[in-house]
């Protein structure tokens, strides 16, 4: 059986010498090919610069959405940014695919900074690992209820006391 549709989306993150991040996301599927690349300042996670390219698409009009990427410059990676990007870059007057690539970059930035904590909790025995996750939740209470691992009935949050 041969495929009738194919999509490949990949993203990478690098730490630059000045401490900022260079994040790049690329989408290539049967109908569209495009890339978004942005630099993010650390530690405030401000989008310092962004550029993008649409290499293949349905209509030439799609190219007119490229300047909209600049709407993301100055935004901080944090609460509410997904909605802002979808409104400013996506939607009927923009390009949802470019907006999606920015969101993919944002997810990369968040996971880039989550990765060391996950590595740390997995490098120790399980009981200590649970304590490490509880400590992470104490520092980031917004993660409570964010997924099944941090749901009310999860073993990971049994006995968890949050700071008031």
């Amino acid at each position: 059986m041969v495929l009738s549709y194919f999509r490949n989306k990949y993203a990478t993150t690098m730490d630059l010498e000045d401490g900022s991040l260079l994040v790049r996301a690329t989408l290539e599927d049967s109908f569209f090919a495009g890339t978004v690349e942005m630099e993010v300042k650390v530690p405030d996670l401000e989008i310092a610069s962004i550029k993008g390219e649409i290499k293949r698409t349905f209509n030439e009009e799609c190219q007119e959405a490229i300047p909209l990427l600049q709407e993301a410059v100055g935004l901080l990676v944090g609460s509410g940014i997904n909605r802002i990007i979808s409104d400013l870059v996506g939607g009927s007057e923009g390009c949802p695919k470019l907006a999606d690539l920015i969101l993919e970059c944002i997810d990369e930035v968040i996971l880039r900074f989550t990765l060391p904590t996950i590595r740390e909790t997995q490098s120790i025995d399980w009981e200590e690992g649970i304590e490490g996750m509880k400590e992470m939740l104490r520092k980031n209470p917004s993660m409570l209820g964010s997924c099944i691992a941090f749901a009310k009935d999860s073993s990971l949050i049994q006995g968890l006391e949050l700071e008031k």
Partner: protein, 78 residues
């Protein structure tokens, strides 16, 4: 030269099972997670008739409990 500090790939392929249904197979693989999903969809109303997923790599022993939640999508529409 800088090395990668994080990377993620998402791949989806769709094949037609017959003239009224198709199967989408999706894979996510990044520095933290790895999982696969098979979704069968029936035309013409794009009804999800089957959803199956497999974790390959995850972060907590609670994560596999999410596989059962996929069945909640069985009556949803694209």
């Amino acid at each position: 030269m800088s090395t990668l500090t994080f990377a993620r790939s998402k791949i989806v392929g769709i094949e037609c099972l017959d003239e009224n249904s198709f199967l989408a197979h999706g894979v996510l693989d990044d520095y933290v997670y790895a999982l696969e999903l098979d979704v069968e969809v029936r035309l013409p109303d794009l009804e999800l008739t089957s959803v199956h997923g497999r974790w390959k790599r995850y972060t907590t022993p609670e994560c596999p409990r999410a596989i059962a939640k996929l069945q909640n999508a069985g009556t949803a529409y694209s």
